[in-house]
């Protein structure tokens, strides 16, 4: 019976997580992770906070075994646990559970609105007639561009293919559907196109403590090129993607972030999925906490975790 229960729990967690993502293609893996944790909080019984934390960690570990972005899952899970346990004091366990459920729902609602908030933040920078370069596909960037189009603005978007997966093509389809003029370019054409664009707009899988970002492979190259060509480099990211991580260079990034699970045993033959862009190449970060400079990210993280 215990084994069956454990297996059922693991299966249920992963199954529910994947089911959420299948039902809504527009859902972020981080938000899906938070929803899964909220469901666990609803359905499971906990005797102590320690058991709660242990269960949450096991759930996050289970979700990390999927092929989805680990950075978002890890940071979202950690922030969720931090948020729901902030105001707990000497109370009965059931009361604590109710409090945590309420706070969890508040947290989720806030996160669901964060994309809209970020889109509004970016409107001032997207002007009529401007030309924008973006990398691969990002839901936040897509939301921002669609909002600008709805505000009767006319602009042109260059989208890179994004290497494996061809996410750029999906981005182009979505932009066309929204009536936005766009062009699909090769990744190697970034340097050529850079002098024609006004600014770069990218999403992020994770924002690290140094103020840099972890994003799809190729973002670092784009950042280097933008800096050399004196183009602004803007990052759109939700606050749940803030991670307590301080990479010094590409090599310093953990392997589990860079490679999928099935290739972790031998990474010499596989190219990485993400890269690290240092804060020196980033102009501004648009978040639901406001428009931040890279150096302010550390300040926000200190407030969140201390």
């Amino acid at each position: 019976m215990p084994q069956i229960t454990e297996n059922g729990q693991d299966f249920d967690v992963v199954k529910y997580f994947l089911q959420l993502l299948d039902e809504d293609k527009d859902l972020s893996s981080g938000i899906a992770a938070i929803r899964t944790l909220l469901m666990i909080l609803e359905k499971k019984q906990f005797g102590t906070i320690h058991i709660l934390h242990t269960t949450m960690r096991e759930a996050v570990a289970a979700m990390r075994n999927t092929d989805l972005s680990i950075a978002a899952i890890v940071s979202a899970g950690e922030l969720f646990c931090r948020f729901i346990t902030l105001s707990l004091d000497d109370k009965h366990m059931e009361e604590c559970r109710q409090i945590m459920l309420n706070r969890g729902k508040i947290f989720l609602t806030k996160l669901l609105n964060s994309r809209q908030v970020i889109a509004q933040q970016a409107q001032r920078f997207i002007t009529d007639g401007c030309r924008i370069l973006t990398h691969s596909r990002s839901r936040v960037v897509l939301k921002a561009l669609i909002t600008a189009s709805q505000n009767k603005k006319s602009f042109h978007v260059y989208v890179t293919q994004g290497g494996t997966g061809n996410s750029g093509e999906e981005m182009v389809k979505d932009l066309h559907a929204a009536g936005i003029d766009c062009t699909l370019i090769l990744d190697s054409a970034t340097g050529y196109v850079m002098e024609s664009v006004d600014f770069v707009l990218v999403g992020a899988e994770a924002v690290v403590e140094s103020g840099g970002i972890i994003n799809r492979i190729g973002t670092y190259t784009m950042g280097l090129c933008a800096r050399e060509m004196k183009k602004p480099f803007y990052v759109l990211a939700e606050s749940f993607k803030f991670s307590r991580l301080y990479p010094l260079n590409q090599r310093d990034l953990p392997n589990e972030y860079k490679y999928s699970r099935k290739h972790l045993n031998d990474v010499s033959k596989v190219h990485p999925l993400v890269d690290y862009t240092p804060p020196v190449y980033i102009t501004l970060l648009f978040t639901d906490l406001g428009r931040l400079t890279p150096s302010a990210v550390s300040d926000e993280l200190i407030k969140l975790y201390m």
Binding site: E209, R244, L248, N249, P279, S298, D299, I302, M306
Partner: protein
Amino acid sequence: MVLTSEQVPQTLKSKHKKQRQRNRPRNKRNRLEDSHSTTQETSAIDATSAMPGNAVDPLATEKTRDQIMAEREAKKLAKQAKKQKTAPTPTAATPAVLTTPSAPATKIITEVEQTTITTKLTTTTTTKVQDAVASKTTQPAAVNGKDAEAGEKTREQIKAEREAKKAAKKAGKGGGAKVEGIAQQLADLKVAEKAPVAASAAPSTTEADQEKKKPALSKAERRAIQEAQRAAKAQVQTKKAQHAAKAPPSAAPKGPNRKSVSPTTAATSSSPVKCPASTPNVDCRVKLFNHLVCAKEDSQFINDPLVHPSIARLGVQYAKRTVVGSNARCIAFLHALRQVVHDFETPAKKEFGRSLDAAVKHHVDHLHKCRPLAVSVSNAYKQFKNQLTQLPADVPETESKELLVHFIDTYIENQIGKAAQAISGFLQEKITDGDVLLTFACSSLIQFICEEAKRRQVAFRVIVVDSRPGCEGQELLRRLHATGIPCTYVLINAVGYVMAEATKVLLGAHALLANGYVMARTGTAQVALVANAHNVPVLVCCETHKFSERFQTDAIVYNELSDPNQLVRGDKCQLSNWAAKGKLLPLNLSYDITPPELVSAVVTEVAILPCTSVPVILRIKPDIGY
């Protein structure tokens, strides 16, 4: 005695004659008044039965007044009119006469007692009494002369009176009274004899005063004027006295003036002494760094009796650079402070906390004279003072000392010991097999981190970059080599060559400023600059107790000058005997400033941070309890 009683009215009469001849009728009234006074005395002496007699006497006085008025009316001359004007005044005189006898009586009694006492005393007192008697005898002689004159006048007045009968009746009554008085006096002792004399004298004086005042309004005015003049003169004299008094204070300031002159002469004399002193200062200072404190190699530390021996020893160690490094200086300071707290004795009538605070401040000032305080030492001192102010006042002294000693031990353990462990923990994740760590000079924290990595079986090596004149890197090299870590040693001029091999640069720090700049040993900025040029990450290891609230963007605003003679190396060096060469000014700076753009991360016990997050840590550090 009879003569004496007769003489008194005569004297009064003579006075009246001298003043004005027209007062003769008043003289008669005066006689009647005297008789009345004598009758009063007799009545007092006898018994209450005599009181009705007193009642009769006023009636007699009234009759006499009526008679006098009748006489004046009979004359009906202008002179009589003037006399009538003066008539109402006698009525006022009578009550004065009535009142005066009582006071003189009491005085007489006291005098008698004094005389008796004097007689009882030794022969000398008897001689004094004899003198008094002689003076009394002289007075009666004068009185006798006056009495003769008075007798003549009275006879003339009696003759002048037309109504012989009334005058005879009045004279008879007056004579009877006098006779009675004389008899009583004879019967009584000396006391009775003295009493009437004084009683008669007092009324006479009062009467004379009144008479003088009444007619002589002009005289009164004259007296007032004279008194005013006298007062004016007195004022003038007092002013002169004030001027005389002012003279000494005028002399007093002259003294200080002279004294002030002597200091100027002393200053002028000292100026030649200052001239040779100033020349060495000019020699050992570069103009751009004139504002920095110059370390005097030959300066002797004054043996201050108030300074604790452990602090005195620490001061010498600071000055001679025996104890170097922020952490080492801070730990040494706290250990010495611990000894001071342990040995401190509260002065009488003073509070433990405040007196200890003053003593510790004195010690810190002494250390600052030996060598400017490090940021870590200043922060530790602030924390100690904060703890001192929070001591409960009602706790005994020994318990307060234990609390302070415990605080010092906790501070050393938490801010330095555990901070090093936390920083090492963060950095172990960054140090991997095949890493080449480059470090500059000597840092206890870097040593701790390398030893920890060695213990974790990580295969790495260390490049120690060093620079003159201190060559502190040799000490780090010795320690790391003793641990078994592969090392490479180069001077800072070769840093460009070895930077290509380095994968990480680890630097210690003296202080981390509030604007993110790193204050560290001279040469650190250069190493960071070369590392940045080679895109090698620069990690600054700094505990939070070294964070400073100061803003500084260059190494000129604040720095520390070391001994310029350290730059001289051997006798063949061209710098030898540099003081003799007028234009040569060696400069030996202790610290430089590294901009935050050259630093990848600052590793603290709180977290790995960018340089720009120092203000956040400074702001929240009290809240998170570090």
